[in-house]
């Protein structure tokens, strides 16, 4: 069976040029998505470059399995929030358009345009087009306008990913959205696009995907589509999306209540998935190739306006009970977050922190421009969101830069109230709850305090297997590595064993950590939990209580570095493994920075 080739589209906004680049060899080594993006960033972004400068790149990455095992697009860049390796993962059909335009390793954008532009990709036709009239527009208007214009021009429906006002104003946790409800939210990809004057990318492909063996791919797809595990997965996902898991998390002290101060509160009962579903459910939506669709958007047309969106942990979990609200109010706030284009998970923690600071007199009415910040109040939350997205006043400007930079504005005493890890909000999957197992993952992450930095995602986000779609595939084909091995043969023509994929997983994990180490991260100074994890215990509704002890944390982290992450006890990279996995070129760079053990 012939092996297929992989190509990226490389666009230089400064020079206004683009070219198609063969990256087949790198794909075999790193698999694609986040793995390939690490290699691209290592090679193309100079060490020490400012994330908001033209030197940064942004990779709209896909992998060999995009469009088959869910449709994921992994957007990678150097993060303006942490300065380290950053990425956001989004769904929607834009990834499949890239496959069909034969940019099956994604699109890389570098440089900076002189004025607002959007990238137009229609098969081999690539143009950097003026977007001055769209600059300042909210997300939905932007996306609908570009889609409508291009449909009129070409007769085709384009996949569009765009930024909102927050991205334009370089809010350090601005996100990128496609189809209005799918966001690549983490660590500020929207600000990177904003810094390049890139309002949107629009992609359409009409070619036949370059699979090595279409018949076998289809046989496997049919097996998946007709399997009982798929039908079973569909039942829960397609009805509820994420709306049922959040109340469960709130009861089990996995999600924050009142800036993560409370353990359980009656406000939790206001997050009721059935009430939400009966009032606002319209239909279920999915991505190409996924028969277990999990997007359950809502629509509400009330006296204060029309609101549309979708509840997920990412845009709801950190607000909701964390600012003492329920689902009813969140319909209006979630919609606004999507329009502004900020990472809902990050901004949720930030808003709750701002209200907490106001409550404790650390920021005053004078700082807020005369507004009172109150718990459980929609106008308060939307006001703060507005201040952040448009960087209004002292408070808005400080909050838009994230916790670490805001500490300098609000003073030392504001630090204790921040429920943050590596300068990122951490109220979803509360790290104090040891049964949830996030304490160690958050505290040792080289990306920032979020899920997804570990090994498992190193393979999923490289091959582009959707986390939410994958369970039927696991039932049918086994572990992630076995799934990849089985699918990569007919898709790419690669004979690659699960053991070799295990190596790729570790290679991608080490390399990603190496990239953050090169950018200034070091476990000795950065890893750990915020003070409240040691001072303020958390209980679930049923009376179990957790809190960390400093010695316990130090011991657990050492153990976690070695046995779970495959690092040295200090959390740095093991030289022998780097050499074995062909990453020896990072050693001379990281050795002077004490990154090799």
């Amino acid at each position: 069976m012939a092996e297929i080739s992989f190509y990226t589209l490389e666009v230089d906004l400064t020079a206004g040029t683009s070219k198609k680049v063969d990256v087949t060899e790198d794909m075999k080594k790193y698999l694609g998505g986040r793995g390939l993006a690490t290699k691209l960033r290592w090679d193309m972004v100079p060490q020490g470059a400012d994330a908001l400068s033209p030197d940064n790149i942004i990779h709209f990455g896909i992998g060999p399995l995009t469009g088959l095992l869910g449709t994921k697009m992994i957007v990678s860049f150097m993060s303006p929030l942490t300065n380290w390796a950053g990425r956001g993962a989004t769904s929607g059909y834009i990834g499949e358009e890239m496959v069909r335009a034969h940019y099956n390793a994604g699109i890389v954008v570098r440089g900076k345009a002189a004025k607002p532009v959007y990238l137009y990709v229609y098969n081999d036709d690539v143009e950097i087009r003026d977007a001055s009239d769209l600059w300042g527009e909210w997300k939905q208007k932007t996306e609908v306008t570009i889609r409508d214009r291009l449909k009129e021009e070409t007769g085709q429906t384009f996949g569009v990913a765009c930024i909102g006002p927050a991205g334009e104003n370089l809010v350090r946790y601005a996100n990128i959205t496609t189809e209005f409800v799918h966001s690549a939210s983490k660590w500020g990809g929207g600000a990177v696009m904003g810094s390049k004057n890139l309002k949107a990318i629009a992609v359409k492909g009409t070619k036949t995907p370059m699979y090595a063996d279409h018949a076998t791919v289809w046989d496997m797809m049919k097996t998946y589509a007709q399997h009982p595990a798929t039908a079973n997965r569909k039942l829960g996902e397609s009805r509820w999306g994420h709306t049922t898991s959040m109340p469960t998390h709130l009861r089990n002290a996995n999600e924050g209540i009142k800036n993560s101060h409370l353990s359980w509160d009656p406000i939790v009962e206001q997050s009721n998935a059935l009430v939400h579903n009966l009032k606002y459910y319209e239909w279920t939506d999915g991505c190409p190739g996924c028969a277990a669709a999990c997007f359950v958007p809502f629509f509400k047309n009330g006296p204060t306006g029309a609101f549309a969106g979708e509840f997920r942990h990412d845009n709801t979990g950190n607000l909701n009970a964390n600012v003492m609200l329920g689902y009813e109010e969140m319909t209006e706030i979630s919609s606004y977050i999507d329009e502004m284009g900020v990472d809902g998970e990050e901004v949720g923690g930030i808003v709750a922190w701002a209200i907490d600071l106001y409550d404790n007199g650390i920021i005053t009415k004078e700082d807020t421009g005369g507004y009172e910040f109150k718990w459980g109040d929609i106008p308060t939350v939307n006001r703060i969101l507005n201040m952040i997205a448009y960087r209004e006043g002292k408070v808005g400007n400080a909050l838009a830069d994230g916790y670490y930079r805001a500490f300098e504005v609000f003073g030392k005493e504001s630090e204790w109230y921040a429920f943050q890890f590596h300068g990122c909000s951490g109220a979803t999957y509360d790290p104090r709850n040891k049964s949830a197992g996030r304490g160690l993952e958050y505290g040792t992450s080289h990306n920032g305090a979020r899920m997804g930095a570990g090994h498992s995602n190193a393979i999923r986000e490289s091959a582009t297997i959707c986390n939410f779609a994958r369970s039927p595939f696991s039932t049918i084909w086994g572990s992630d590595e076995e799934v990849c091995s089985a699918w990569l043969k007919p898709v790419a023509g690669w004979d690659i064993t699960p053991e070799e994929l295990e190596d790729i997983k570790m290679r991608n994990y080490y390399f990603n950590r190496a990239l953050s180490l090169r950018a200034g991260y070091h476990p000795s100074k950065d890893d750990g939990l915020c003070p409240r994890c040691f001072d303020e215990p958390i209980s679930n509704k049923y009376g179990e209580t957790w809190v960390w002890d400093h010695d316990e944390w130090a011991e657990a982290a050492k153990e976690y570095y070695v046995s779970s992450l495959g690092l040295t006890e200090e959390g740095i990279l093991p030289r022998g493994e780097l050499e074995r996995l062909g990453l020896d070129f990072v050693i001379p760079v990281l050795e002077p920075m004490n990154g090799i053990g």
């Binding site: 939905q140 996306e143 279409h214 569909k234 029309a306």
Partner: protein, 292 residues
């Protein structure tokens, strides 16, 4: 076709007899197949419930011999070996292939109905159709189309040929060739394109004639136009649409004929109708009191 109906009814009777389906389901399926209720009830009565197989029992133990008085007891005869009870046979497994509409009996003739509210846009139906007809996965080469709209919520909307009757088929009427190269075949009960007479790129009159955009022209895939043939590629009358078989959401249904020409509606128009239901305002006019 009639033979097909008989076979399907026999199969249903068999299933009812085995207890795999209920009497109610039998009546429902039979009526879907076009059998009247009275006839279906009669057929159900014929298929009596299977009598349970008798549970094998062990032979009774041999009587213990008693001795007459004042006589020496003879040696008791050895007891006959008790045969072990045979294992009961396992229940036959009900095999279910897939979870879509293929579990419903197919009609003798019909069309693929699309249920817009149920479609999630996975596009697996398109993969099936392009694979079946062209041997590759390319959604634009499918005879069922799924388009993603922003209303502004993302919504996938399908478009399928409704197999218009000759009196209604605008594509057939538009064909300048005599007899038309695209036509409804009464024998096999679906639309057919005559590859020998269709002029392809030189004509294409049928493509815009279909209001619902269900006649497709993809020059990289085929020299002639193509239209839904219910996956009966060789035009033998064997109707087994692949897209219906793989739709996990029952959003595509192979249904018997009905006055369906009225829903020959373009997916753009369907999208507008759905959007209007949601928005009394224009769909781009999302309002909040916080709009700048």
């Amino acid at each position: 076709m009639a033979e097909n109906l008989d076979q399907r009814l026999s199969l249903l009777q068999e299933q009812l007899k085995e207890g795999a389906i209920t009497r109610r389901s039998f009546l429902r399926y039979a009526s879907i197949l076009g059998v009247s209720v009275a006839a279906a009830e009669a057929l159900a009565a014929c298929a009596t419930q299977a009598t349970p197989a008798p549970v094998p029992t062990c032979p009774p133990p041999a009587p213990v011999p008693t001795c007459p008085p004042d006589e020496p007891c003879p040696e008791p005869a050895p007891c006959p070996a008790v045969e072990p009870c045979p294992e009961p046979e396992p229940c036959p497994e009900v095999v279910k292939t897939g979870w879509g509409m293929q579990n419903y009996p197919y009609p003798r003739s019909g069309y693929i109905d699309s249920v817009e509210q149920l479609c999630v846009g996975c596009g697996i139906c398109q993969m099936a159709r392009s694979m079946k007809h062209f041997g590759v996965i390319n959604r634009d080469w499918a005879r069922v189309r799924v388009t993603k709209y922003m209303l502004p919520l993302p919504k996938a909307i399908q478009s399928t040929c409704v197999q218009c009757t000759p009196e209604e088929a605008e594509c057939q009427k538009a064909c300048p060739i005599n007899p038309p190269a695209i036509y409804f075949d009464e024998e096999t009960q679906h639309m057919v394109v005559n590859k020998d007479t269709c002029a392809g790129a030189a004509c294409l009159a049928c493509v815009p004639a279909c209001n619902a955009n269900n006649v497709h022209w993809e020059p990289t895939a085929s020299d002639v136009v193509f239209v839904c043939d219910l996956c009966d590629i060789d035009n033998t009358g064997e109707l087994k649409p692949e897209c219906v078989e793989v739709c996990n959401y029952n959003a595509l249904r192979f249904q018997s004929k009905s006055p369906r020409d009225c829903w020959r509606i373009h997916s753009d128009e369907k999208a507008e109708l759905l959007a209007r239901r949601m928005y009394p305002l224009s769909k781009t006019e999302m309002a909040t009191e916080w709009r700048m």
